[in-house]
């Protein structure tokens, strides 16, 4: 594997007699979204503050692109840290400055750019974060979501290669939480920075993360992909992940992947090997276009409405569903053969075309600006499996059979 962008080697941090981090080892790779999860007060923010240089370790080393920070000259350290931006949990916007002044501050104070160039860059970020109408407002005049966007714009205005997000979704409702996570994922793809996110939003945060770091008992106990975390056997899973899953309301109200798997295995245990079941995979197409046309919150409302609609329809006939990725849902129909499932899907499609897609559209339009216009396309695929088969194989098979089941154009806006 490549040299990690940031690496902790046996980093220990104590405040007085209290040990916060103990011999922490971790690796963060370039161009990825890495999420640090753990219990409140477990040292996640302390860990993040070590990365940005606000705190220094009592023991151990922090390596930046393979070079230890404590072995670098002051100029080298400054050059490394200048590539980073930090988005604070409570935004830390200067309340006596307007949104424009807040975003312009790092450019005015740390560069020798001309006023015109600063203005150009600031306005570009303001437009990208959809804050054009709020540029002359003070932070106290903005909603929570807008303040987050202003903080994000300030973090991005210096074109950082690494952005650290300290609990960016705290205190937000499920739609806003997912809108902020979706915004982070979108900007990360757009600008290509490395994102390091501290979050409690399990499982929603998995959908945007390439890697997960689990902080537990002063140490990192897991580093890997969200899929690898599913198979991770450690007390951390019971004490942290499951408790957080219980506390968090997933956007769609569906089962988490873990709960889905438990239900799936429970159902399959009771089945004979020859019995069959079916899996349907639904997808909301062109999510990026929806985000671009209607904004993050509308897109999340659409996903939420879609999940609720699928659950309402198939839950009534014994099916159970989960959100598989940011815009994809999986439903298991445990007692249905393919032919029967096809009939069920036909009924669903008919109902969906008559009511469902309009519900999704109505949900999205609640948060969209008036007059916005986006096409909604929903795909669905069906596959049959037996208890002996791996669920992932059947899901992949259903995915490959996806076809359009509903489309709503702007004309339906009225």
């Amino acid at each position: 594997m490549d040299t990690p962008l940031i690496e902790f080697k046996n980093v220990t941090k104590r405040f007085g007699r209290r040990t916060i981090l103990e011999r922490v080892n971790l690796k963060i790779y370039e161009g990825e979204v890495t999420t640090i999860i753990g219990l409140s007060g477990g040292g996640k923010t302390v860990l993040l503050k070590h990365i940005i240089g606000l705190l220094k370790p009592d023991e151990g080393n922090i390596l930046f692109r393979g070079k230890p920070l404590n072995g670098m000259s002051k100029r080298e350290v400054d050059a490394s840290l200048t590539q980073m931006s930090y988005m604070f949990q409570d935004n830390a916007l200067f309340d006596s400055m307007t949104v424009y002044e807040n975003i312009a501050l790092p450019l005015r104070e740390t560069t020798n750019l001309t006023k015109a160039e600063i203005d150009r860059r600031v306005m570009a970020r303001i437009e990208q974060t959809e804050l054009t109408d709020s540029a002359r407002k003070f932070p106290s005049e903005l909603s929570g979501g807008m303040q987050k966007r202003a903080a994000l714009a300030r973090a991005l205005v210096i074109d950082p290669s690494i952005v650290l997000f300290d609990e960016p979704t705290s205190g937000q409702d499920p739609v806003r939480k997912n809108a902020i996570l979706s915004m982070i994922a979108q900007y990360q793809r757009k600008f290509g920075f490395t994102a390091i996110v501290v979050s409690h939003e399990i499982p929603d945060v998995y959908f945007i993360s390439n890697r997960i770091l689990a902080l537990y008992g002063h140490d990192i106990v897991f580093q890997g992909t969200p899929e690898e975390l599913e198979n991770f056997d450690h007390p951390f899973k019971d004490e942290v992940i499951h408790s957080l899953e219980g506390l968090q309301k997933e956007l769609t109200g569906l089962h988490s992947k873990r709960q889905f798997k438990l239900q799936y295995h429970g159902q399959m245990k009771r089945r004979s090997l020859r019995e069959t079941y079916c899996v349907a995979v639904f997808k909301l197409e062109s999510l990026d276009a929806i985000i671009a046309g209607m904004g993050h919150e509308s897109a999340q409302e659409a996903i939420q409405s879609m999940g609720v609609y699928i659950d309402k329809h198939f839950g009534a006939i014994g099916g159970f569903s989960t959100r598989r990725s940011i815009n994809e849902f999986v439903t298991v129909l445990p007692y249905s053969e393919l032919e029967e499932a096809e009939d069920m899907l036909e009924d669903f499609i008919k109902d969906f075309q008559e009511h469902g897609i309009r519900e999704i559209w109505a949900g999205a339009r609640e948060k969209a600006a008036p007059g916005t216009c986006v096409d909604f396309t929903i795909l669905a695929g069906l596959a049959q499996g037996q208890p002996i088969a791996e669920i992932e194989t059947i899901i992949a098979s259903a995915e490959s059979k996806q076809k359009e089941i509903g489309r709503l154009r702007c004309a339906a806006e009225e």
């Binding site: 400054d78 840290l81 931006s85 930090y86 006596s96």
Partner: protein
């Protein structure tokens, strides 16, 4: 039996140790306070030096001018008001005291010297502490607890340079100017009360003011003003900047207590330093 004797002697020694601790406790507390004072004084001195060193940076001028406006220009109304009534009271009191001795002619001397040497610098410093010093502590304190100062650090903007240095320099420039204004308005106030309202001789008053004031009186007053500026701005900025380090409270309460401490400490230090500086200058 032996065990019981041992336990009895143990209890006695514990009681004796408690008594010793009780007797020593005032000294321990005084010692802790003294150490804390020395620590804080040293830290504040380093804080001041760092802030002054960071003055010489090419983007500081606009921030210093902004702070001069805030600390200086915005304080003129209150300084004019307090200066005028201080002068009037001085004129009134000295008229009634001196008229008994038949020495009304000395009213101008008394008013001018009292204002320029003592009351001008001291009252100006106290008024600016109340108006601008408290606001400086509260503003910096809020910026500290809401992580705005940490945000500056993460943006590679030195908070000492950005927040502290302009305020201290602006105070050093503003205090002598406001003191001069206070002195002038105070002398006018004395004229209004002694001459206009009580009928003292106008020519004598103005002549005595002019004749009794020497250049040394003015420079001594300005030296005091500069010393007070350094004390007030350093104390107020320091209290706000380290509001989060208070042991007795956290958050908004810490900002409130830091603001109170800044005002009280500044006022006490103004009076103590006034005595020291006066005794050195005389």
């Amino acid at each position: 039996m032996e065990l019981s004797a041992k336990s009895q002697s143990g209890t006695e020694s514990k009681t004796a140790w408690r008594l010793v601790k009780l007797l020593l406790s005032p000294f321990t507390a005084a010692g802790r306070t003294a150490i804390s004072w020395v620590n804080n004084s040293g830290a504040a001195a380093i804080f001041l030096v760092l802030a002054l060193v960071k003055t010489f940076w090419h983007k500081q001028l606009s921030k210093i001018i902004q702070q001069i406006y805030y600390i200086g220009a915005s304080s003129t109304t209150i300084i004019v008001l307090v200066g005028f009534f201080t002068g009037m009271v001085l004129g009134l009191q000295s008229y009634h005291a001196l008229v008994k001795l038949g020495a009304q002619g000395a009213i101008g001397t008394l008013v001018a010297l009292s204002l320029v040497r003592e009351l001008g610098p001291v009252l100006t410093a106290i008024m600016i502490t109340a108006r601008a010093g408290s606001a400086i502590t509260a503003e910096i304190g809020v910026q500290r607890i809401s992580e705005q100062i940490d945000a500056l650090d993460t943006m590679r903007i030195d908070p000492m340079r950005y927040l502290i240095s302009p305020r201290i320099v602006a105070a050093i420039i503003s205090f002598p100017l406001l003191t001069a204004l206070f002195d002038l308005i105070g002398i006018i106030g004395g004229y209004v009360s002694a001459v206009v309202l009580l009928g003292a001789n106008a020519g004598t008053y103005l002549h005595r003011v002019q004749a009794s004031l020497e250049m040394k009186d003015l420079t001594d007053g300005f030296i005091k003003a500069v010393v007070f500026a350094v004390i007030v701005s350093t104390v107020c900025c320091y209290q706000g900047y380290f509001a989060h380090m208070r042991q007795d409270s956290h958050g908004a309460k810490a900002v409130g207590l830091s603001t109170t401490s800044a005002v009280v400490l500044s006022c006490v230090l103004i009076l103590v330093t006034d005595y020291i500086v006066t005794s050195l200058l005389l």
